[in-house]
Subunit: 92 residues, 5 copies
């Protein structure tokens, strides 16, 4: 899973039926210090009640679909909210 | 999911049987401002009636197949049309 | 899916049983103009009768297996031959 | 699979139900010499009793879920602890 | 699939039960000329009796698991040994 911060929300009226009712959040990947990486933000489906500004972790790929509902066309889902990280940054 | 803009269409007479009848659109990934990224456009299958010039979001990987028909050899599908984005761009 | 051009063929006597009888083609990803990208060519399984020099599109990931035979260990398959592209290149 | 070193741990109270009871470790990819790569550390689920400082290998993608429990929304799992590597580094 | 050369072997006593008995080989991706790419070697499971120094091709992602045994937590497997390549290198 990757660490990220929720930075926004997407509104989409026309979408796949299985996406109706999902909360589509824009998530930016972050490093261990919480700083945004130089990668592109992605659209994730929230499954844990995350809100803008919260530090989360998300899964990518077909398994993200399982966090929402079997077979829904989703390739990224927020599956947890980070309370704290305890770590050594080896890259110093 | 990634954000993109539809930039064109592919015509292919010889293709996998399960692709017959699908609409193959060329989609360029975009950033939060709608500007095209420096990545290569990909071929996506449309599932929501998207047209050239529309801002969409698409799934990648095996789950894209589920948006079209189970088992079809598709690794990218447009699953929604973006009405609006509400967000903070942390990279400033 | 990605666009590519078939550039060669692989001969392999010792291979997974499920690959016996498959045609293994070397495919180079190309851009909208048909120019080869600066990425590494990959080995794809042909499912549409493609030949060297033809412009094709291919799927990557586990779904490629479904284009050939369920459960075969294949992560890239050619699923169509491009007749024509009709598009705007936003990167100008 | 990729080689990595465990560098920390994540605490998350609010998370997907299927993640309850899993040990979430932060893992940094390493090269053949054990030096950390210049890639972003990821969150992996431990399945072999790994601890901080240990050299491990991990799987990525939907199959990681199978190392933990079918259908759990996990895209990276530690599946082994490296005793030793015996190899030639071709890049010299 | 990608082309690679086997450069070593991993010994791991503590590992997922489904990996017991598998041969874990370190594989370096190579280009069409057989030269090692500037990418990180990965750990692959051998399914065709490959040895150090042999030129092989391997699958990545969840489908690699199918080359070994259904559901085993494996994301890269060697599925063939390259006899010969017949190709044009478009990048000249």
């Amino acid at each position: 899973m990757e660490m990220g911060i929720v930075v926004g929300r997407v509104t989409a009226t026309r979408k796949d039926d299985k996406l109706v009712g999902t909360k589509l959040l824009i998530t930016q990947a972050i490093d261990l210090d919480g700083s945004p990486l130089n990668s592109q933000p992605i659209i994730t489906v929230d499954t844990v009640g995350a809100g803008v500004g919260e530090r989360v972790f998300f899964v990518k790929g077909s398994i993200a679909s399982r966090a929402v509902s079997e077979g829904s066309p989703i390739d990224a889902a927020i599956v947890g909210i980070i309370d704290s990280l305890e770590c050594d940054d080896l890259k110093g």
